[in-house]
């Protein structure tokens, strides 16, 4: 596949054109990845309200009716519900792995077996996130297994 990057003038609108024979899974992932870069998430950290790129989020976790975002080193809170986040990021790298966690597959270092047939995702920052058995078939499907 050729990658062509053109320089444009300061007044011209930036655009990404994908020329393909058919829109397959890899093309969809590219499109979703580009969309993800454009969006920002409004989050709270203590008294501060910040905007962060969804691509920087390692995982979302619901704890006692509150939803937290975990990045490389920071933890933020969002007002969005987990199901809302799941809908918003449907078709992207974000994937639900348990009732309370949505994981960013782009930030997973590897999967490892836990105790008694369970799985864990080892994140790129060294954190471990549990994967419920019931979501394993969906995960397999998402990864094309």
């Amino acid at each position: 596949m050729k990658i062509i990057i053109e320089d444009i003038g300061p007044d011209e609108e930036e655009a990404v054109i994908i020329r393909c024979r058919e829109v397959d899974e890899s093309i969809l992932q590219l499109v979703n990845g580009l969309k993800l870069k454009k969006e920002k998430l409004a989050v709270r950290q203590g008294e501060k309200i910040l905007q962060i790129e969804p691509g920087d989020v390692y995982y979302f976790e619901a704890v006692d009716n509150r939803v937290f975002l975990y990045s490389d080193k920071n933890v933020y809170e969002t007002r969005m519900k987990l199901y809302e986040l799941e809908r918003r990021f449907a078709g992207t790298d974000f994937f639900r792995v348990s009732k309370s966690v949505i994981l960013n597959l782009a930030k997973v270092k590897n999967f490892c077996p836990g105790f008694n047939g369970r799985f864990e995702a080892l994140m790129q920052n060294g954190e471990r996130v549990g994967i419920s058995r019931q979501y394993v078939p969906l995960l397999k499907n998402k990864l094309g297994l």
Partner: protein
């Protein structure tokens, strides 16, 4: 819930295999000229079923590593209690016989370790497969 039942059925097949081996060894060691009653087959299945129920001790949610270790220990004690309880209830042997009790205890430990390893190994094989596909997934650019 369905996933949990599937997992338990899978473990049940491992446990039944282990218990059959355990019985074969035990009977070879202590009851070479004895007669095996048909009830023993049902007792094996029943005992295995009770042993597998011990898997319910592991929660679906994420827990600390020390909690897993404690639950593992409790699971092991539960399996011992089930097997010795069944041995006594079904009159397999006199539990006061230290030689037979010691042999059974050793067998339970071996079967517990082997079944735990088999379950872990199955998960390891799947996680290796998932890791292969994760690498391909993360390399998102379409192939040339």
């Amino acid at each position: 819930m369905i996933a949990k039942i599937k997992e338990m059925l899978h473990t049940f097949s491992y446990v039944v295999t282990g218990v059959v081996f355990m019985c074969a060894l035990f009977l070879t060691a202590f009851n070479q000229n004895g007669i095996i009653h048909i009830q023993l087959l049902w007792q094996i299945l029943f005992t295995s079923f009770l042993c597998v129920m011990g898997n319910l001790i592991y929660p679906q949610r994420k827990v600390a590593r020390w909690q897993i270790i404690v639950r593992r220990l409790l699971h092991y004690l539960y399996v011992n209690a089930v097997v010795f309880g069944c041995a006594r209830a079904f009159w397999w042997f006199d539990v006061a016989d230290l030689e037979k009790t010691g042999f059974l205890f050793l067998e339970i430990t071996v079967v517990f370790i082997v079944v735990s390893w088999a379950v872990w190994h199955k998960s390891k094989a799947l996680s290796d497969l998932l890791n292969d596909h994760l690498e391909k997934y993360q390399n998102k650019m379409p192939e040339e």
